[in-house]
């Protein structure tokens, strides 16, 4: 098998199947093992009843010094792909060619023995990762320093905090200097100081020609680290290309999908006066059309439709926008913002709430609306997080903060 001189991983038409039914899966396993043993040829690349493709026709290439992000919803085949590349699962059709030592940052610290000390576990884990005794001794100090476990080095790993275990596992894995690093969500753990250390180490590793395959749910991380990104969905390649474009498309897809999802369990509607109801909330774009997604910085309007079968005196509308993590981004009260909005409310009508520039970071937001009479504690109808919309990314590539105002930077000298 020949690969282009700077290619470290090539995958072509890769298929992997699994079986949903446990007993049948075991039956197929027995069948396959028997055939393997007898040397019978059989077609592995076709589906039998109850089998499905965990990976279907996946092809890509990774070169030295490159970083490829792998994104996709849970169950899209990301981890299976890493396991095939790591030689743990065999493919069922197609092939994967790998050149060079692979280091897997999948569940770091797997293989640690709780009764053994950190020192003993470094030796053991290093050996499992393919280091010779001399290589381990040479790197021992660097590993200990990187893991920063101090006097715990000679204590059993069972006494470590989970953070320390991860640090030690990661330290050993990165010091095994693989040519290809497979990382599955590992950077999401540990404290900030250690995470930064890991980023620096990975950057250094890449400068030295190391290739990285990063599986992550954090678009931020993928955008920061990877050149190209592979988006997997139901085991198939949905998109492969420049990270920015793929991540944007993926985020838009996720947001739109969840914004239109109707069955949600955290919606609470409490009505204290059956004669007074908030009927629904509509989100409107700049042209006044109903929509579910707003670009960052766009004009946002929420229209609250009410129906009062009796006259409500001095109605108060309140509206809050929260992130899906339930952080309140916006909370406004009509009695404070617009004291003369309505003196009374009767029959059907609507109230518009507008934000000139919706400067929120991309993501899903839930809208809570209440209707009170005369005072805030006199709630008539309450719709808790009942309406969802999405804020989607405009152009700017790096966005950390919840608030995304339009900003200006200026340089000066004293």
């Amino acid at each position: 098998m020949e690969l282009a001189h700077d290619t470290v991983i090539q995958v072509a038409g890769l298929h992997k199947k699994f079986c949903r039914h446990l007993r049948r899966s075991m039956f197929y396993g027995t069948l396959d093992v028997t055939r393997d043993m007898l040397g019978w040829r059989y077609a592995t690349g076709v589906l039998r009843p109850r089998e499905f493709w965990a990976l279907e026709d996946v092809s890509f290439e990774l070169k030295r010094g490159e970083a490829l992000g792998i994104i996709g919803p849970n169950g899209s085949g990301k981890t299976t792909l890493l396991r095939i590349l790591n030689g743990i699962f065999p493919p069922d059709r197609g092939w994967a060619a790998v050149r060079g030592r692979i280091g897997a940052l999948i569940a770091v610290g797997a293989g640690f023995h709780p009764n053994m000390t950190g020192r003993e576990n470094i030796r053991l884990n290093g050996t499992i990762l393919g280091l010779t005794r001399r290589e381990i001794e040479e790197r021992f100090e660097a590993i200990v320093e990187f893991a920063d476990i101090g006097e715990f080095l000679d204590a059993p790993v069972a006494t470590y905090s989970s953070g320390m275990t991860v640090r030690l596992g990661f330290a050993i894995a990165v010091h095994a200097t693989p040519e290809i690093l497979l990382a599955d969500e590992v950077l999401a753990v540990g404290d900030l100081r250690f995470a930064l250390k890991c980023y620096r180490k990975i950057a250094e590793y890449r400068r030295n020609g190391g290739a990285l395959l990063l599986v992550s749910h954090s678009m931020q991380l993928v955008r920061n680290v990877c050149h190209r990104t592979l988006w997997l969905e139901h085991g198939r390649v949905r998109q492969l290309g420049e990270t920015q474009a793929v991540c944007d498309a993926y985020e838009r897809d996720v947001l739109q999908r969840s914004a239109t999802a109707t069955s949600r369990e955290d919606i609470v509607r409490i009505n204290h006066d059956p004669l007074v109801q908030i009927e629904r909330v509509e989100f409107l774009d700049e042209q006044g059309r109903a929509c579910a997604a707003f670009p960052v910085g766009a004009r946002f309007r929420a229209r609250i439709h009410y129906h009062c079968r009796r006259q409500v005196t001095a109605p108060i509308f309140t509206l809050a926008l929260t992130t899906v993590e339930n952080i309140t981004a916006v909370a406004n009260y009509s009695n404070l913002d617009a004291p003369h909005l309505l003196a009374t409310a009767a029959g059907r009508g609507w109230v518009d709430f507008e934000i000139a520039q919706l400067a929120l970071k991309p993501g899903n937001y839930d809208c809570t609306v209440n209707l009170e009479e005369q005072a805030l504690d006199n709630v008539l109808d309450w719709h808790e997080r009942a309406y969802r919309f999405a804020v989607i990314s405009a152009e700017s590539p790096l966005m950390h903060g919840l608030f995304q105002p339009s900003v200006r930077w200026e340089a000066g000298r004293p």
């Binding site: 743990i88 493919p91 797997a110 030796r123 499992i128």
Partner: protein
Amino acid sequence: MKTAASAVVLYTADSRRRTGFWRSLAGMAGNICRARELIRQLFIRDYLAVHKKSFLGLAWIVLAPVVATLSWLFMNAAGVLQPGTTGVPYPVYVLLGTTLWGLFTGFYQSATQTLTAAQSYILQVRYPHEVLLVKQALEQTVNFAAALAVNLLAFLWFGVRPSWLLLLLPLTTLPLFFLGAGLGLIMAVLGVVAAEFKRLCEVALGLMLFITPVLYNPAALGPRFQEVLRWNPLTHLLDTARSTMLAGTVPDPLAFACSSLFALAVFLLAWRLFYVSEHRVIEKLF
């Protein structure tokens, strides 16, 4: 980075099945040679670390055969067990027999765990799994050596002088390893996809203890039972190992040779089975 110099590993659906029989065996043997350090480390981890937490520590190793012997002695004294003439005091005979039987079942048991003993990282880290077989067998060998020391003490106590052929023990017990580890490897693979096989095998082994002359002299049986024993390869493997130690003789050299060849054949087939199917089986582990 030595990327340009590294060899390309190709993963396809049937790359293992296509590898020839002898080549696959040689490949696995090569892996074991290269992974000596890993075997050493895993041995230290599993053998010493496990005993760190226990008060009796390594004493557990000799306790098992002694307790087993005591129970057989009790049954013998109660008149339930009629072992026939054994040539040496019965306690020595039965202790040695159970020690050898323990070695065989130890090889079997430990080989069945070749894939499952390291379940926590078998799905995470790639390493040649055959090293686990060797590590497990090493543990059994060390246990056996400790139990053997207890045997020698018993020899002294009862005034039995072992033959100098005792030195051939590594050779005479090798077929026990082949048969035990071979059966165990087959069950390591089949046990994952079809647990029934493993259970059946365990039931059969329990039965085998009684149709193998572990606790009694085969001469004490009737001719029909002797015929059954004659077709049991374990009879010859175990009896030869024991006779060389106690009397310095090989009771039936031809039968021993045939049984040893049978054991070797089982082992080679099992090794091949393990090679072609371990990955397919690992998929089913989680």
